[in-house]
C-alpha cells in the first residue's frame, strides 16, 4: 500500500511544484472564470433578475469553461516537460498516478473557484445567509465530479488533433447531469426558505462522482500508456 501512496504523493507534489513555478493553470482558471461571470452580468442585468436565477448558472458555467481550459493547460504542460514520459518509464501503478493527478487538479480547481466566488459574492451582493454549508458541499461535489472525468479526458484530448478543443466536446455531454445537479442544487440553496429537493441533487452528485472516479481510476492507465 505504501508504494501506492508514495506514487500518489510524488505525482501530487510534482504537479503542485510545477504549478507553483508557472501558475499557468491557476491563472487560466481564474481569468476565464471572472471573464465568464462578467459576461453573465452584462447578459443578465442583475437588477432585473432574482439572484438565485442568475448566480447558479453563471457560477457553474464559469467553473466549467475555466476548468476545462485549466485542464488543457495542465495536460499540455505534462506533455511538454517530459512529465508523462517519466511516468511511463516507471512501473508506477497507473491508478496511483490517477489519484495524484485527480487531487492536484482538484486543488487547482477549488483554488480558482474560490477566487471567482469572492468576486461573484461582491458583484451579486451575496451575503452570509446564502453561503451556507450545503452551498459549499455542492461546490465540492460538483468540482470532484468534474475533475474525475476531466483528468482522463485531459490526456485523451492531448492525443487528438483538436487538443484543447476536444475537451469540451468530450466532457460537456457526460457532465450534463453533474451540471444539472450543481446548478439546480445551488439555486435551491440560494432561494430563501427551505432547501426542499436538495437531497435528490446531492445524491445524484455523489453517485456521479463515485462512478466516474472509479471509471477514471481503472481506465487512466490505458489512456496514459497509448
Amino acid at each position: 500500500m505504501s508504494a501506492f501512496l508514495s506514487v500518489t504523493r510524488a505525482v501530487f507534489r510534482r504537479d503542485l511544484s510545477a504549478e507553483w513555478r508557472q501558475k499557468d493553470v491557476l491563472t487560466t482558471v481564474i481569468m476565464f472564470g471572472l471573464l465568464t461571470v462578467v459576461t453573465f452580468v452584462f447578459a443578465f442585468d442583475p437588477a432585473r433578475h432574482a439572484r438565485e436565477e442568475i448566480v447558479p448558472g453563471c457560477l457553474w458555467t464559469a467553473y466549467l469553461f475555466a476548468g476545462m481550459l485549466g485542464l488543457g493547460r495542465s495536460a499540455a504542460r505534462d506533455g511538454q516537460d517530459g512529465g508523462t514520459v517519466g511516468l511511463l518509464l516507471s512501473p508506477a501503478d497507473r491508478g496511483a498516478v490517477y489519484v495524484g493527478k485527480f487531487l492536484s487538479h482538484a486543488v487547482f480547481m477549488l483554488a480558482g473557484e474560490a477566487v471567482v466566488l469572492l468576486f461573484t459574492i461582491v458583484w451579486f451582493d451575496l451575503d452570509g445567509r446564502h453561503l451556507t454549508a450545503p452551498f459549499f458541499l455542492i461546490l465540492l461535489l460538483g468540482t470532484l465530479g468534474f475533475v474525475a472525468v476531466g483528468t482522463v479526458f485531459a490526456v485523451v484530448s492531448q492525443k487528438s488533433r483538436l487538443r484543447e478543443v476536444m475537451l469540451p466536446v468530450l466532457m460537456l455531454p457526460i457532465l450534463a447531469p453533474m451540471v444539472m445537479a450543481a446548478v439546480e442544487g445551488t439555486a435551491i440553496v440560494l432561494t430563501p426558505g427551505s432547501n426542499e429537493g436538495l437531497g435528490e441533487w446531492l445524491k445524484l452528485l455523489a453517485g456521479f462522482d463515485l462512478v466516474f472516479a472509479v471509471a477514471g481510476f481503472l481506465l487512466y492507465g490505458f489512456v496514459l500508456e497509448e
Partner: protein, 237 residues
C-alpha cells in the same frame, strides 16, 4: 551469456511510412551494443520500442524473458532509459528529482540511495541546487543517475554524447565503461563510434529503418568501421 533481450522482425509504422522495418537484435547480459546510423535511420524509434515506451507495429520483443507487449510494467522496473529529453523538472533540485523517481519506482531507503547515485555521478555538492541552473553535462549526468536509480539490468541511451564538450564526453564514456564492468548491459545510439569502441562488444548499423550491418562478436576497430560506414552511406544515397 543468456540473452537479456531478443527482438524478432521488429517494425514500427507512423501513418504510412515505416520508421523501422523487420529488425532482429539479441543482447546478452552485460553486453554493450552500439547502434549507429544517420539521423532518421530509425535509431530512436528502435530505442523507444526497446524501452517499451512505444508498442511495435509488427514483430516480437522479449526482455528479461518477458513479452514486452503484456509485461511492460515489470520490464520497466528493471530497465533504465536515458532519452534525448532529460525528463527532469527544472523547478526541483537534483535531490528532489531523484526522490520523485525513487517514489515512482517504489524504492526503499530512498535517502541513502539518492546520495549514492549523486555521489557516483559527481553531483553530491549540487544536490540542493535547482536543475534549472545545471549545465548540459550536469543534466546528462543527473539523467543517468535517474536511469540507474533502481539498479537496472539493462541501460538504454539515446545519443548521450550530443551537446557535451570533449571533457564531458570522456567523463560520460568512463562512467558507462564502469557500468559495463558492473555487468550492466548497455544499448546506446551514437554518432561518435570512437568513444565507445574500446568497451563495446558489438555495433549495429541502421539505414532507413532497416538493419544493414552488424559486426560479429569478434574485435573490430573504429577505423575499419568508420570507413565501412562511409561506404554503406554512399551506396545508399
Amino acid at each position: 551469456m543468456d540473452t537479456l533481450l531478443s527482438a524478432r522482425g521488429l517494425s514500427r509504422r507512423y501513418g504510412r511510412n515505416w520508421a523501422l522495418s523487420r529488425v532482429d537484435l539479441e543482447v546478452g547480459a552485460g553486453e554493450v551494443v552500439a547502434l549507429l546510423g544517420a539521423n532518421g535511420a530509425g535509431k530512436s524509434t528502435l530505442l523507444n520500442l526497446l524501452s517499451t515506451l512505444h508498442r511495435p507495429t509488427e514483430g516480437t520483443l522479449e526482455i528479461f524473458g518477458l513479452d514486452a507487449r503484456h509485461h511492460h510494467t515489470r520490464i520497466r522496473a528493471r530497465l533504465g532509459y536515458v532519452a534525448h529529453a532529460t525528463l527532469l523538472d527544472d523547478g526541483l533540485t537534483a535531490r528532489e528529482n531523484l526522490r520523485y523517481y525513487a517514489a515512482l519506482f517504489g524504492l526503499t531507503k530512498v535517502d541513502r540511495l539518492v546520495d549514492e547515485r549523486l555521489e557516483e555521478v559527481g553531483l553530491s555538492r549540487r544536490a540542493h541546487d535547482r536543475v534549472a541552473g545545471f549545465s548540459r553535462g550536469m543534466r546528462q549526468r543527473l539523467s543517468l543517475a535517474r536511469a540507474l536509480l533502481h539498479d537496472p539490468e539493462l541501460l538504454i541511451l539515446d545519443e548521450p554524447f550530443t551537446g557535451l564538450d570533449a571533457a564531458g564526453c570522456r567523463d560520460l564514456a568512463a562512467r558507462l565503461e564502469e557500468e559495463k564492468s558492473k555487468g550492466r548491459a548497455i544499448v546506446l545510439a551514437t554518432h561518435q563510434l570512437e568513444r565507445v569502441l574500446s568497451w563495446s562488444d558489438r555495433a549495429l548499423l541502421l539505414h532507413r529503418g532497416r538493419k544493414v550491418q552488424e559486426s560479429g562478436a569478434d574485435r573490430y576497430d573504429a577505423a575499419g568501421w568508420a570507413v565501412h560506414l562511409a561506404e554503406v552511406a554512399e551506396e545508399r544515397t
